[in-house]
Every structure is written in C-alpha cells, then in structure tokens.
C-alpha cells in the first residue's frame, strides 16, 4: 500500500504515471506506477507480492534487501532475465515477467 501522507516526508507528490505490464503464465495485466518507482516498489504498491518461484522447490520469492545486493527480487524484464527489479526504474510499456 502507498504511504500517501507522512509526518516527515509530507503528502506524496503525484509524479507522472507510468503503465507497464506484469505477465504471469502467458497472461499480462496492466500495472500503474509512478515515474519514480522501481519495478519492485510498483509491484508491491499494486499488491503483487510474489515475484518468482525458486527453481527446485517452486517456493515463492520477493524483495529481501531492496538495494540490489541479494538477487531475491529478480524477474524477466523486457526479455532479459535476472534483472534486479528493486533497482530498475519503471518505464512505459515495460514487460515484466514472472520467470
């Protein structure tokens, strides 16, 4: 959920809206985000919390460190695998797949 108002940071300034696509099992949905979002923050804000499933046991994975160091949040972005979504800014038309 978005933190719309905050005692120190103030009300959230509505930055330019961006639309990208989250694709799971071949089906894609539109996701709206702010220009300042990363793929990870946008997905979490929109309520999409599981980013991938582990190779061997198919266990759910999501953000862990949020600064690009742990590789937990990796997804396929615009065809490229292993992209650290927590440090990848969103862009209009971006295609994010759950691998």
């Amino acid at each position: 959920m978005r933190v719309w108002d905050h005692p120190i940071l103030g009300p959230l300034k509505r930055a330019r809206e961006v639309t990208f696509y989250l694709c799971r099992n071949g089906k894609c949905e539109e996701v709206k985000a702010f220009e300042r979002d990363t793929v990870a923050s946008a997905l979490l804000a929109a309520g999409y919390r599981v980013f991938r499933y582990s190779d061997k046991y198919r266990e759910p994975r999501s953000v862990f460190c949020a600064i690009g160091l742990c590789n937990s949040c990796i997804m396929v972005v615009d065809g490229q695998p292993n992209v650290r979504t927590c440090i990848t800014p969103v862009r209009d038309g971006m295609k994010v797949e759950v691998p």
Partner: protein, 173 residues
Amino acid sequence: MEAEEPTGVNVIGIPTDEEFWKCPGVPSLKRMKRGPVAVIECFQEIPCNVCEIACPRGAIKVGHPITNVPILNEDACVGCKLCIPVCPGLAIFVVDLSSDEAKVSLPYEMLPIPKVGERVEVLDRRGRFLTEGRVIEVLYADKFDRTFIVTVSVPKEYALHARSIRVIKGEKR
C-alpha cells in the same frame, strides 16, 4: 503489569528511579515546582551535542568529548522548550509543576497532529495508558523541521511518567 518487567537504561532504555534522579540532565523536583524546566532524559554517552548548541541561555553543557551526558543548569533554564524539537533522540521534555495541573511538553512526529483543546491519551514510558489529558499548546516553526512541540495538561501525579500521547480516533478536531 507483568511481574518482572526489565528496567534500566542499558537493559531496556527505561531509567530506574535511581538512574533518573542521578542524571545530570534531570532537574530537581523543587525546580519543577517553580515553573517550566527542561528534563533531558539522555543517560548514555553517545556522540551528540545538538542540545548544547540549541539552548539560547547556555543552560545545557556537553563540552568535549561530545559523548558527555548533557548537564542541565536548572537555574539558567527557563523552560523555553527550544531544545525539545532539536534533540535527535527526542529525549527532551519540559515539565511544569507550578500550578494545579502539571504541564508536560513533548516532541511529536506522528500524524495526525493534535489540535489545542483536544483530549488525548497520555502514555508512560512503556506506552501504557496513564490518563486522558488536554492539549493546551502545539508549537511549530520551520526550523523545528517537522518535529512539533505538544504540551498536555495532566494531573500532577503523572508528570514524571507522562512521555507520550496517542490521538484518540474519532476525536473531533
């Protein structure tokens, strides 16, 4: 209340009675009864001297090294409250025991900010409900950088324990 609640600044962050009264930043009860005075609840040696710099009357001394625990000169202090919003640890309060009801001023950085006249829940250092109190003053200036100074009036017996407020949901604002 649980049987064995941990106390002690180094154990849990809450002073024992002895630690409280021994602290050089805590004024005497006598001084609190004379009028508003700062109560600096900073018990550990951590590198910080913002309060010393902020006091317009030089009533707070830290010196060097800056890890020294701040010492309050209770006679020089007039309870102006300017030290409250500057303390990065939000550890400074102003207590006034000179009238029927005690006045406790504390730093506040949550939403919503209460309004003057509003009733709020007054909590102790462990967040336990003490009493309802009335907000009698809310101070803010740009240089406080988002830390408000809220003053509540509470029955005297709570003055040394009242350290937090909780805005009552649904309270008319």
